[in-house]
Structure formats: structure tokens, C-alpha cells
């Protein structure tokens, strides 16, 4: 049996189908698989690229902690999270989360939980490079993301 949590922090893109296949391998009683892909938006043409900085070591550790908590809390059969760093252009992938469970709501909740905590706790920071050539600003954290995370402690 493969370990239930797979976490990778990488510069390269990921392959959705390959990650789902890897997570299913050796498991015969999966009823539901949810995937979340987070992409770089073009912001109506204003955004040229995002530059993602991360804290090596802690990024893996923190996302692993989040995934393990989701596995335990929702009874997931497996969870995968991959987060990219470096320069990412509109339309390209930033993050992938995959969850597997016998039942659909656990798979949905698990992926949603992982994303909410990843947004607020995983040590990544985004800098914007705009198409008008202006020096990029660091993206600000959103109160809405804190609120999304806090609903899980109810």
C-alpha cells in the first residue's frame, strides 16, 4: 500500500491524469475522487506572470501536515498535493490537490479543507508581473481566505 499522503513542491508542471492514476494504484474500494487545480488567471490581460516564492522545507512540511489532518478528519483513503514555484503564466497550473474516499462528501470536503489551509498556511508568496511592464506588487492576503479557513473550526 502506497503511503496515503503525497506532497511535492516543484518548478515543473504536473500531470492531472498521472497523479490521479498514481493515487488510485493498489486501492480497489475508492468511490470518489476529487481534484482541485488552481490556475494563474490573466486578470483581463493585465497580468503577464506570477513569480511564486516559497520557503523550501517548510512548504513541504506544512502542506504534509495539512494533508494528514484532512486524511484523518475526513477518513480519506489518500491525498496528493503539488504546489509549483517560480514563474507561472496565465493559464498555467499553480497547485493541484487530489483526494480519494469511499464516499463523495468526504472527498469534496477533504480537498476543500486542504485548499483553504494551504491558502493561509503554506509558505508561498506571489509577486505580480504586469503586462504594462510596471514593477510587480506582492499579492495581498485576503480576509476572505482567513474566513474560509476558520469555518472548518466550527
Amino acid at each position: 500500500m502506497v503511503a496515503p499522503v503525497t506532497v511535492r513542491i516543484q518548478r515543473e508542471d504536473f500531470d492531472l491524469a498521472a497523479e490521479v492514476s498514481a493515487l488510485c494504484r493498489g486501492r480497489t474500494n475508492i468511490g470518489a475522487i476529487v481534484t482541485f487545480s488552481g490556475l494563474c488567471r490573466d486578470e483581463a490581460g493585465a497580468l503577464g506572470a506570477l513569480e511564486l516564492e516559497h520557503y523550501p522545507g517548510m512548504a513541504e512540511a506544512e502542506i504534509s501536515r495539512i494533508c494528514l489532518e484532512a486524511v484523518q478528519r475526513f477518513g480519506l483513503q489518500a491525498a496528493t498535493a503539488i504546489h509549483r514555484f517560480g514563474r507561472i503564466e496565465p493559464g498555467q497550473n499553480i497547485v493541484l490537490v487530489v483526494t480519494a474516499s469511499p464516499h463523495r462528501q468526504a472527498a469534496f470536503d477533504g480537498a476543500n479543507f486542504i485548499m483553504d489551509f494551504l491558502k493561509t498556511s503554506a509558505p508561498f508568496w506571489k509577486k505580480e508581473h504586469r503586462t504594462d511592464g510596471k514593477t510587480g506588487e506582492w499579492v495581498s492576503a485576503k480576509d476572505a481566505d482567513d474566513a474560509a479557513r476558520d469555518r472548518w473550526s466550527r
Binding site: 488552481g38 511564486l52 516564492e53 516559497h54 520557503y55 522545507g57 517548510m58 512540511a61 506544512e62 504546489h83 499553480i94 497547485v95 485548499m115 494551504l118 491558502k119 493561509t120 498556511s121 503554506a122 509558505p123 508561498f124 508568496w125 506571489k126 509577486k127 506582492w138 499579492v139 495581498s140 492576503a141
Partner: protein
């Protein structure tokens, strides 16, 4: 005095002007809050980076901590703005 490795990210790193450094901390520096106050005495670049002290997040040995957390025998302390991954 104790020796600690400090690492900085995002605009904290940019404003301080370096990504990491090793510092000797005076005995009075017990918590993360004490550390932030101490760093602000080291120059304008630290003052600028840590001006809004309450928004600065900290990690000790790669785990998030509050400002009240004692530094203890930390090998590595990280300071950074709120995270914006995902």
C-alpha cells in the same frame, strides 16, 4: 547570547535586503515579539520591513508560531508576510 539563523521571505526579504543571516541575540530576547523589537533597532531597513509588526508571521524550525512564542533553542527562525499561495 545565543546564535540563530534568520530567514526572510517576500517583501520582508526585499526590504531587509537579504534572504538570510546569522545573528547573536542578546539575553533579553525571549519571544518572537522580543526578536522583532530587537531587529528594529538594527537599522532603517529592518524598521521598514517590520514596521507593521502585527502583520509579520513567524516560524520556528519550520512551524508557524505566535509572537508570544519563546524562541528557546531555535535553529532557524523565519519572518514573512501573510502567505498567498494556492
Amino acid at each position: 547570547m545565543s546564535t540563530v539563523n534568520l530567514v526572510y521571505f517576500s517583501w520582508v526579504r526585499e526590504r531587509i535586503g537579504k534572504g538570510e543571516e546569522t545573528l547573536e541575540l542578546p539575553a533579553g530576547v525571549v519571544t518572537i515579539g522580543d526578536l522583532l523589537a530587537h531587529l528594529k533597532t538594527l537599522g532603517a531597513e529592518y524598521e521598514s520591513a517590520l514596521e507593521h509588526q502585527n502583520v509579520i508571521r513567524a516560524a520556528i524550525n519550520q512551524e508557524h508560531v505566535e509572537h508570544a512564542e519563546p524562541i528557546g533553542g531555535a535553529r532557524e527562525i523565519a519572518l514573512f508576510p501573510p502567505m498567498t499561495g494556492g
